[in-house]
Amino acid sequence: MTAAAPPKLALKAVTQRFGETLALSPTDLSVRAGEFVSVVGPSGCGKSTMFNIIAGVLQPSGGSVLIDGRDVTGRAGEVGYMLQKDLLLPWRTVLDNIVLGALLKGKAGPKERAEGVALARRYGLGDFINHYPSALSGGMRQRAALMRTLAMHRDVLLLDEPFGALDSQTRFAMQQWLLSVWERERRTIVFVTHDIDEAVFLSDRVVVMSPRPGRIREVIEVPIPRPRPVSALTSPVFSTIKQRIIDLIYENTPALEPAHV
């Protein structure tokens, strides 16, 4: 890391305690501009805590979050984020939901709305601009939610299991769609997931976390060239990386006693 270009997103000794529990032990992480980083780990590994701290909705007990070298610790609205739940407002049209950020600030003028329409058309929701979210399928709702995040004009996007509630076919289509969006928009993405295949397929690097206390176990590079074809999922590199992640996640899990099996 050169002094001239600070990482797009950096965590410096970010720590979170809830009472006696150490939810996240001091954690450092830096993400380059335009990089796609996934975070995987079993439940209780602190990934949601880390997510909320980066999103700025949780004030960490210690450490700081930097964007472009700027301290944004505990400040909401510095990154765009998206959850497994699409959180679309049912009483707003798809377009209004996409431009929600501007709408909330009373700035949803013709320019912002035209931009929202362009986003919807570019990424496959052009026919649903005037529909209410109830008319959309699960995959379409997640697309609308991602467009809402894109329309916020934040360089860093934080996605917390955005496709976790979708069936596997839709999910796979959405992963490829997300990659095409990312390649075009060139934003920095931090992607939290349970799904190891998803993490490896999408990312430049995979951050593996482990519980008690929550911490980063290892950061693994994914040297598969982009654009990644579907066949990448069955390539030897892919399997090796996947195996490594599985080993890291399950190495601390005690084997079940025979009596309990």
Partner: protein, 267 residues
């Protein structure tokens, strides 16, 4: 074509039901030779309505006014109370038991006291009608406000929304669905409230007062004419709420924004 047919049936069924009830009524009165002062025939009632049309219409207007003003007053007051209770825990803690207790008191009992306090004019009627609407609105709106997804609140906060903006764009619209269920339930009850208020202090000349007078003179045709107008009033009040709901919550009655709405994007 089939859509128009379905709509036709939707209108036809209630009409058929109405005709059947009136025909059955007419036949029963004739067949069992029921005295007119016990049960008038539909024709008697129709004649009475034609004869006393101006008085009935005036009464209808009066009672409708009491209903409309009282209903709006009660709904708005209930809404404001709910918002205050949602915003402040102490306010909620203090008001909730008061509200519950107030609901335990029969309206009729309050009606007498209100006449003493507020006289024979419009005021006590408005208060009674408002009281009928008030409680369901408070409870339902409070539910609506409390049921807003915490993640949505976090999201809009992270988008930099002010408290007012969150209220206007997230919390307020979330109350519409429960608000309208409360209003639909209490619309017809409010008409009852207006009638009860008129019975207690009947100088206003509403339909309730008309009914009371007709009844005391054993004028059953007049009583039934009043009942017809009250039924009409109940229907009108209910339809008004439905119309307001259709207008204010377009996302519940269609999958697309309406063309004239400011949200609708036209190229």
């Amino acid at each position: 074509m089939s859509e128009r047919y379905a709509l036709l049936l939707k209108i036809l069924y209630p009409v058929v039901a109405l005709v059947l009830v009136i025909a059955g009524w007419a036949l029963a009165v004739d067949a069992f030779e029921i005295p007119r002062y016990v049960m008038p025939s539909p024709m008697d009632v129709a004649n009475h309505i034609a004869d006393d049309w101006p008085a009935l219409v005036k009464g209808f207007g009066q009672t409708f006014m009491e209903f409309l003003l009282g209903f709006l007053f009660g709904a708005i007051a209930g809404f404001v109370f709910a918002v205050l209770m949602d915003a402040s825990r102490p306010v909620r803690g203090i008001l909730y038991p008061v509200l519950i207790t107030s609901q335990a008191i029969p309206i009729v009992a309050i009606s007498a006291a209100l006449t003493i306090w507020l006289g024979f004019g419009l005021a006590p009627k408005l208060v009674i009608v408002a009281l009928v609407v008030f409680f369901p609105v408070v409870v339902n709106v409070l539910d609506g406000l409390a049921s807003v997804d915490k993640d949505i609140l976090n999201l809009v906060r992270s988008m930099g929304a002010s408290r007012f903006s969150i209220f206007r764009h997230v919390k307020l619209p979330a109350t519409y669905t429960p608000l309208f269920s409360a209003l639909k339930l209490s619309a017809t009850f409010s008409v009852t409230g207006a009638v009860i208020a008129e019975w207690t202090a009947s100088t206003s000349g509403g339909i309730g007062a008309y009914l009371l007078q007709a009844n005391s003179r054993l004028n059953t045709a007049g009583t039934f004419a009043a009942i017809v107008f009250l039924a009409l009033l109940g229907l009108v009040s209910f339809l008004l709420v439905i119309a307001a709901e259709y207008w204010l919550t377009p996302w519940r009655s269609g999958s697309k924004a309406r063309r004239w709405s400011p949200s609708y994007w036209k190229d």
